[in-house]
């Protein structure tokens, strides 16, 4: 079965290769659709990608009065349809992660579509393909379960993984801290 995007935030090195690669996707008009943040730049060099999590019940689509935001059968929440988007920017306000971007000239929202022209055929999205640090990975459900299990505690709560943040998402995340409690080889 198809793979999913998995984020292991601890790994991020801030190279922003994901953003550069985003522009290379066929449907992306040379514009990148996600973000990489400096977490605390005066203190250290920790960075993290802020990617569309492709919510199962996405606020952006729910808030769209024109039904311009379609959900692909893979679960990918697509970029606004040019012919339907009315440029109201409800989606940019409703998204809890601030993902949808807005092109003022075109009066059009654009966002991560998980490289749908690739992922529909189970080719990894550009960001996860190039990510040098394996912060972004393209994994099967079993691989993701295994990753998350490594950080599970006896009380049933993951150390660094949550079932989901705001609401259930198709993209899964391991928060920073994956090395806590890691059993050392020697």
């Amino acid at each position: 079965m198809g793979r999913k995007l998995f984020l292991e935030l601890e790994n991020c090195i801030g190279c922003r290769s994901c953003l550069a690669a985003c522009t290379q996707c066929g449907g992306h008009d040379q514009r990148n659709r996600n973000y990489v943040l400096d977490v605390n730049p005066f203190v250290n060099r920790q960075t993290m990608p802020l990617m569309c999590l492709h919510c199962v019940n996405p606020a952006c689509a729910r808030s769209c009065p024109a039904q311009a935001i379609q959900i692909h059968e893979t679960g990918a929440v697509l970029s606004a349809l040019v012919e339907k988007c009315i440029g109201c920017q409800n989606c940019t306000i409703s998204c809890p992660y601030g993902i949808p971007k807005f092109d003022v000239e075109q009066n059009l929202m654009y966002k991560c579509d998980l490289c749908i022209d690739r992922t529909k055929d189970d080719i990894p999205p550009m960001c996860a393909s190039v990510c040098p640090s394996n912060t972004l990975q393209w994994l099967t459900e079993e691989e993701i379960a295994e990753k998350q299990q490594q950080h599970e505690m006896e009380n049933g709560k993951w150390v660094t993984s949550m079932p989901y943040l705001e609401s259930e998402t198709n993209v899964k995340i391991n928060l920073p801290g994956i090395l806590q409690g890691k059993e050392k080889l020697f």
Partner: protein
């Protein structure tokens, strides 16, 4: 071959009316695999697609790699030869006019001939680089010695890899940058990484580095700054710039003291142990801590981890190498592996992160002032004879050894060298002590520069020859593992641009030396002669045919004949390349940096890269994404240091040393030592930090000490707020 847990069979996305050309990145020594997307109607490169089936990098690329394709059809490309008649405009972009190849060649040949007639053959010089194929590197060495008949050839590897080379030659008797393939890196139990900002300079190594920790292994990072790789390290040894040798000696002392020395390995496979043991006794944790500024506890813990690790890899880069004791630092770190016997088997060994794309291959085959192809010495009569046979000259026609890169600028200053043919390099940004170097270039009677953009160095030229980008030519490159790989042509050269090898062959013809070059009509022809020239040398490529490289996903040298599949792991038989087959454990007395902080210049200045730029930035500063991400240099300062100078974030300050000064924007971060400031070196003109750096050269490698000098900051006048 050598496919590991990260390798996955993935089909590439193919777009209509496009074809994919398999090749590698143009930039660093990782040489990440990539596919260039070529439009089949225009036959132009239009994009990039990951190369999932390349075993080293499995599709991964850094932002430089992703955008590398934008170089080829860039608006700044030089499309025709350029001539400048008014020498008073040297050092500026002004005064160039377009010319034909014939006119440019005639001008070059006339000037070269006149200079050589008047001042001797050695009045000409060649300054080259290693961001180009083995075929070009090989031919450049031959062109200098046979075409121009000058002794003066050297290359920008002196500013990059020469200390690693010197250290490996002394310790092992052979200089292959990594003793093992990169597919071993994530399988080791401890990585000891010194002076490498791996996450920014070799980002596609990072998934392997993190995997060591994910498996429960250890990561030790030595760096004055808490770089992105140091941030996650188990131990971050935050040393003062320029004190690596003290740390290496200190750790070696603890390894020996605490019983981690492998007596039988030392006995059977090394020389020099007793003497070294005596020398490092002085380097107690307390003394090491005093010299390096690292907490004693951390030094002790690092030695314990490295000592205990069943397998470990010691890795280093320019941080340790770009010092006036760079060679000693390298041998000092290599000592750790030799004394503990953690070498000569899979998952354990030594590696340097090669900075330039072909930093490995380019230093082996005759661009260095004293080397001939196959890592032969120009001072060894037998070696000279072997190469003379391939080149068709007699040994008395072989020029003497020349001088190192920086020393060539000294000879330009005093008019020993009067003409320069510069290719594949931008020393007006990348050399140290730039006021002196720029003056030297201005002082030349005649200078030719071959480049595909008008670099800061090209601004000093009388003639600029338009060369091609990596994607418009083909040939082989040797990556940081020592793996020979194939670069493929994706597009025909644009405008009237030509590959450097073609220019050299055409120039040789006009210089009356055509008989030694005219049988070479393609990169492949040069490759064939090049393989033959390496036969029997230490760096033997004879068996590495282009077909074998394709079939095997690269060939590790040495590869001696058709049957030989190459040598991914070095020293598996515990045989080193010194005549007695033993490695050398080196006793290395500590020396501080050439210029220590003082009252007048109390700060330690160190330099390095950012992830968005490559070398002098001549390429990456023109790529919109990379320029947006890092448009200008800056000076990194710890908040406490900033406070003592009353500086705030993004304020402009004057930074100066005994050699020069520049204005930089302050970037405040706790991720740097309080006594050290850092500036990235990728920028030109008045933004070059190398205006300030020191040209203290390593006595063996002639590497300048970019990584440590004494500096001072001056707060600029407070701007009146309106």
């Amino acid at each position: 071959m050598l496919k590991d847990k990260f390798f996955r069979e993935i089909e590439n996305k193919e777009h209509p009316n496009e074809k994919l050309i398999k090749t590698h990145c143009s930039y660093c020594g990782m040489q990440c695999g990539m596919n260039l997307r070529v439009d089949t109607s225009s036959n132009k490169i239009i994009g990039v697609e990951p190369r999932y089936d390349w075993p080293v990098t499995v599709g991964k690329m850094c932002p430089k790699g992703v955008t590398a394709y934008q170089q080829t059809n860039h608006k700044d490309r030089i499309l025709k030869p350029l001539i400048r008649d008014d020498a008073s405009k040297k050092g500026t972009k002004e005064g160039f006019r377009e010319a034909t190849w014939d006119e440019a060649y005639d001008l070059i040949v006339n000037n070269f001939k006149t200079l050589q007639k008047e001042y001797g053959k050695d009045s000409l010089s060649v300054f080259s680089g290693v961001s180009m194929t083995n075929e070009k590197c090989y031919l450049t060495g031959k062109f200098a010695r046979v075409g121009l008949q000058t002794r003066y050839i050297d290359y920008n590897g002196r500013f990059c890899m020469s200390s690693a080379a010197g250290g490996f030659l002394r310790s092992f008797g052979v200089d292959r940058g990594s003793t093992l393939p990169w597919t071993d890196v994530h399988e080791t139990d401890c990585l000891f990484i010194a002076g490498s900002n791996t996450a920014e300079c070799h980002p596609t190594s990072m998934f392997r580095v993190w995997e060591v920790q994910n498996r429960g292994g250890y990561l030790i990072v030595v760096d004055p700054r808490e770089t992105p790789v140091a941030r996650r390290a188990d131990i971050h040894l935050d040393l003062k710039p320029g004190t690596d040798l003290a740390l290496a000696n200190g750790i070696l002392h603890l390894l020996i003291e605490n019983g981690y020395a492998d007596e039988s390995f030392i006995q059977n496979h090394t020389n020099g142990f007793e003497e070294t043991k005596e020398l490092v006794k002085e380097f107690t944790p307390a003394y090491t801590s005093e010299l390096t500024g690292i907490d004693e506890d951390k030094i002790i813990r690092a030695a314990e981890i490295y000592g205990k690790a069943p397998n470990a890899i010691v890795m280093f880069a320019r941080g340790a190498e770009q010092q006036h004791k760079g060679v000693d630092n390298v041998s000092g770190y290599v000592n750790l592996a030799l004394v503990t016997g953690k070498i000569g088997r899979p998952k354990a060994g030594i590696a340097t992160f090669t900075g330039q794309g072909n930093g490995q291959g380019g230093r082996e085959h005759g661009q260095k002032s004293d080397l001939l192809p196959g890592y032969r010495k120009i001072t060894n009569p037998k070696h000279v004879e072997e190469i003379c046979k391939v080149w068709g000259i007699t040994p008395d026609e072989m020029p003497e050894p020349g001088v190192s890169a920086y020393e060539m600028f000294e000879l330009m200053h005093n008019k020993t060298i009067r003409g320069l043919y510069l290719l594949c390099s931008n020393p007006a940004v990348s050399a140290p002590n730039l006021n002196f170097v720029r003056e030297a270039m201005k002082n030349l009677d005649f200078m030719v520069c071959s480049d595909f953009y008008l670099s800061e160095s090209a601004e000093f030229a009388d003639v600029i020859l338009p060369s091609v980008t990596w994607a418009e030519d083909e040939g082989t490159v040797t990556n940081l593992e020592g793996r020979i790989i194939k670069i493929n042509q994706a597009q025909e050269p644009i405008g009237q641009s030509k590959p450097d090898w073609r220019m050299q062959i055409e120039l040789a013809e006009r210089l009356g030396r055509g008989q030694y070059f005219r049988h070479l009509t393609s990169a492949k022809d040069i490759g064939e002669e090049f393989r033959l020239a390496t036969k029997g040398g230490n760096a033997d490529y004879y068996g590495a045919t282009w077909d074998k490289i394709d079939q095997q996903d690269g060939v590790f040298w040495p590869c001696k004949d058709e049957e030989d599949t190459g040598t991914p792991h070095m020293f598996l038989d515990k045989k080193f390349y010194h005549p007695d087959g033993k490695a050398k454990i080196c006793a290395l007395p500590y020396r501080p940096p050439a210029e220590e902080p003082c009252e007048e210049y109390p700060l330690r200045l160190t330099t390095g890269r950012v992830v968005y730029h490559y070398l002098s930035g001549n390429q990456t500063r023109r790529i919109p994404f990379l320029k947006d991400m890092c448009p200008d240099p800056y000076v990194e300062i710890h908040p406490e240091l900033a406070k003592s100078y009353d500086l705030s974030h993004e304020e402009e300050v004057r930074l100066f040393t005994r050699r020069g000064e520049a204005i930089f924007t302050v970037k405040i971060t706790e991720a740097i030592r309080k006594d050290t400031v850092f500036v990235p070196y990728h920028f030109g003109h008045e933004q070059s930090i190398n205006l300030l750096t020191i040209a203290a050269l390593d006595p063996m490698s002639r590497m300048p000490e970019y990584k440590a000098c004494a500096a001072q900051i001056e707060k600029l006048g407070v701007k009146e707020s309106i």
